[in-house]
């Protein structure tokens, strides 16, 4: 069957046959599925872990294996592809045919560059497969609410009212609030804050922050925190107990244990005047090695909530009351991030796209010119880069290197076009085609870099701060849209290749000497 497909391709689609599209696509699909599957199978959530232990052996082995397979496949495929060259042999080639050939080349090389992304995508899909997004969102909210009652940070206040920006652990220092709300010295001095018109100490449970998960934005987190504060003030014990129960149920589901019941947990923390207590619930049993510190008053051992245990001749701090929060927090963060900020995204996809683009142009330029011209072009580009680099270093300019490359690009283009217009002999235009094709993908990126540098230099000339200059919005736009600009750049190369391939076809007809 396979041979009959190939024969059919030879008789009907010679370009596809020559590119060995069918076998190559089948192999690529299988290998990409295997890569995905390998990523999916080897990845898992281990609730015994509470921090990143950097078990990357599998990843590194796979990356090396994938690179080796890609190279092997590329070489085998090129050997077959280079067997026939209809364009060089002056077989009839329609104006658009060369472009189609390059597009196919680009597509297949993209497929060959996808093994590693497919592997990591498989890993992410596995992580996401534990729970649906809706379920995970619900669980993350419970974890976030329960974290209010687990040892963690408290808000810093230098304003009268609680500021929503304070609620998240990671952004607990409310520096921004100082800019918008008037600071009063009395608040700073009393270590207190006001909530619903009542004054509380900053050490009150009401001032506790909650953990955030990247599903939620800051206002949502603030509202969740406010809800818990209101439950406490309104003495809605059932609501709080329910959160604790739900939390411990999740822990139980993952075979993680604490040593408090919801009622004990509630009693330890909440049932205190003004919600002030020295009790705390640890995020795990073992808080690490005990280190006696006689000089740091603030780092004294917390004997109320911890005790010391000798484990293998090593003193370790153990919480008297704990829940397995570190385990849940670490692993649920992994799962949430797999949804919210996956590693395999449009930005990371640029890597295989650029690899495929670069390789396709290198191979295509070799196909349409000659090995000798290709090699000479390579030497020219290397020498040109070295010289440009030296000049850049000597004159210490941010502009010289991109300008030099753009100069090289335009020189190659004009020489090539001049040759096709004069129609006399090719001379060194074959070398120029190689350079043109290789440097074109960098055109917009060097323009981008130049514009950014010029704008930055212009904004430095202002005496006001950087953000207040009229160039700031453009600079920020360029920075924010770097990924779309890269996609535009790739699209630009794809479009301009339609033009280049047509001119190259005409150029091929010109006399060699």
């Amino acid at each position: 069957m396979f041979q009959s497909i190939q024969k059919n391709m030879l008789l009907k689609h010679p370009v596809l046959w020559n590119l060995r599209v069918i076998p190559a696509v089948i192999i690529l699909v299988i290998l990409n599925i295997l890569s995905f599957g390998f990523g999916f199978i080897t990845e898992f959530i281990d609730f015994k872990e509470y921090e990143n232990n950097y078990h990357y052996e599998n990843n590194i082995s796979f990356i090396f294996l994938a690179i080796a397979i890609s190279l092997l496949l590329l070489i085998l495929w090129l050997v077959n592809y280079f067997k026939n060259n209809a364009f060089k042999a002056f077989y009839p080639v329609k104006p658009g045919q060369l472009y189609k050939e390059w597009l196919l080349l680009f597509g297949m090389l993209f497929g060959m560059s996808l093994f590693i992304p497919a592997f990591f995508y498989g890993k992410e899909v596995k992580i996401r497969s534990y729970y649906s997004e809706a379920e995970l969102r619900k669980r993350a909210a419970i974890l976030s609410e329960a974290s209010f009652f687990i040892e963690g940070s408290y808000s810093f206040h230098n304003t009268i009212e609680t500021y929503e920006g304070d609620v998240v652990t990671e952004t607990a220092v409310a520096v921004d609030s100082a800019a918008v709300v008037e600071t009063t010295d009395s608040v700073k001095d009393c270590h207190c804050f006001y909530l619903r018109g009542k004054k509380y100490s900053t050490g009150s449970l009401l001032n506790k922050n909650i953990d955030s998960y990247s599903f939620f934005d800051q206002p949502t987190d603030s509202l969740r925190r406010l809800k818990i504060q209101n439950w406490l003030i309104d003495q809605k014990k059932d609501s709080v107990i329910n959160v604790m129960k739900a939390y411990l149920a999740i822990a139980n589901e993952h075979n993680l244990k604490g040593n408090v019941t919801p009622e004990e947990w509630y009693a330890l923390l909440v049932e205190n005047p003004e919600f002030e207590t020295l009790n705390s619930i640890g995020p795990k049993q073992d808080d690490g090695v005990y280190i006696q510190n006689e000089y740091n008053f603030n780092n004294r051992f917390d004997s109320i909530n911890k005790y010391i245990v000798n484990v293998d001749n090593e003193a370790r701090e153990y919480y008297r009351h704990y829940v397995p929060h570190d385990y849940l927090d670490y692993n649920y963060n992994r799962m949430v991030n797999a949804y919210v900020s996956p590693d395999m995204n449009l930005t990371s996809l640029l890597i295989p796209l650029y690899i495929a683009l670069g390789l396709s142009l290198l191979i295509f330029s070799f196909r349409v010119t000659s090995g000798k011209q290709w090699l000479i072009a390579l030497v020219v580009v290397i020498i040109f880069n070295i010289l440009s680099g030296i000049i850049t270093a000597l004159i210490n300019s941010d502009y010289s290197y991109p300008i030099a490359i753009l100069f090289l690009l335009f020189s190659a283009y004009f020489y090539f076009i001049r040759t096709t217009i004069k129609k006399e002999s090719k001379k060194i235009s074959g070398i120029m085609i190689n350079i043109l094709l290789w440097v074109t993908p960098s055109f917009w990126m060097f323009v981008y870099y130049l514009v950014l540098e010029i704008l930055k230099d212009l904004s430095y000339n202002y005496h006001s701060t950087y953000v207040n200059t009229p160039y700031y919005p453009t600079i920020q736009f360029l920075k924010d849209y770097l990924v779309p600009i890269n996609y535009f750049n790739i699209l630009f190369v794809i479009v301009i290749m339609a033009y280049f391939t047509r001119v190259i076809r005409k150029w091929r007809g010109i006399a060699e000497e």
């Binding site: 059919n8 030879l10 008789l11 009907k12 010679p14 046959w17 020559n18 280079f82 067997k83 026939n84 209809a86 002056f90 077989y91 009839p92 080639v93 129609k423 006399e424 002999s425 076809r505 005409k506 091929r508 007809g509 010109i510 006399a511 060699e512 000497e513």
Partner: protein
Amino acid sequence: MNEFEKQFQEIEDYLKFEDYTLLTKRIVDLTLDTENLSFYQKTNAFLDWLDYNENAIEEKTARYRELLAELHAFLKDKPTAPRDVLVSTSDLVKNYGYGAFGLGPIQLKLHAGEILGLVGENGNGKTTLLRSLCGELHPSSGSITYHFPYTDLYALRTQLVYIPQRTDTWYGSMFENLQFTATLYGYAPEENEHLVNLIITRLGLRKFKHHAWKSLSSGYKMRFELARMLLRKPKLLLIDEPLANLDILAQQTVLEDFKSIAKSPFRPIGIVLSSQQLYEVEKTSDQVIFLKHGKQKNLHESKEDTSVVNSNELIIEFESSLSQRELGELFQPLELVALQFNGGTFIATFPENITVYAFLQHSIDRQIPLTYFRNISNSTRRFFVS
């Protein structure tokens, strides 16, 4: 009688004299001329049958006769192709820089169905002229005009097939290579395999279609190049030294193939070939150009171009056991102009009024021992005489 009928008569004679090898080749030519799938299938079926029934003379003859009749019936009303001018040059000059070798000026005109032979010593511009005609070299001055339509230079060069002396290696199966060419040249999928089979049979490659390039001899490589060329339907075929490395039999076969390919009544092409095999080339070619230091030399006096004048003297190449002095004395009555000893043979030049018969009669009368004799008055061989 048109060109087709003339050629058909020759083919019938092959059958009459049981020259089955030539007959098979010419039947394939006729089949290709039909450009008809059912004939492709019919002839291929016959060739397959022939592979196993080579010795069934009677049945073979009957089948040949039947196929020939069908081909004749199909082709007799098909209009033959005109013999238009394909390419002409006007004062074509190609220089490789100041002081370096220069070709030309060259004047030539080639029609469809004609073979132009290029002869000359090594390094005298044969390859340069071929490369100029195929578009590889741009003229330093003068011009080359192609008298057939083409949209751009690339399209032009698809119609000019140049086979250099050292051909590129073919990779993979020979048969697949030819099929690839056929597909790119627009042959329908259903006729592709039949057509390729016919062409490889035409060039005697039936047994070699699955061979690797490296296992083929120079002669068979050349034939595969010709097979590919046939699929490319060129207007002009340019071949550099096609006879080099071929044995005498293979040379004759290849030249005969060129002749029938060029002179197809329905698909004629122009062929320009360079060679050192003067007599073989002269036998096959319609025109011969001799190049000496890049300059074109014509055989006879030309009223238009006196710069390439050579006299119309009688020039005889011969071998004899007599010495140069003895021969000089013996031929003196024929007003011998010159007698040169060149590479084991003598070249005798006589005035225009002396005929070849007079030379022979004189040799018989004087009993001059001749072991070899050739009138080279109309051969470029005379230009090789120092």
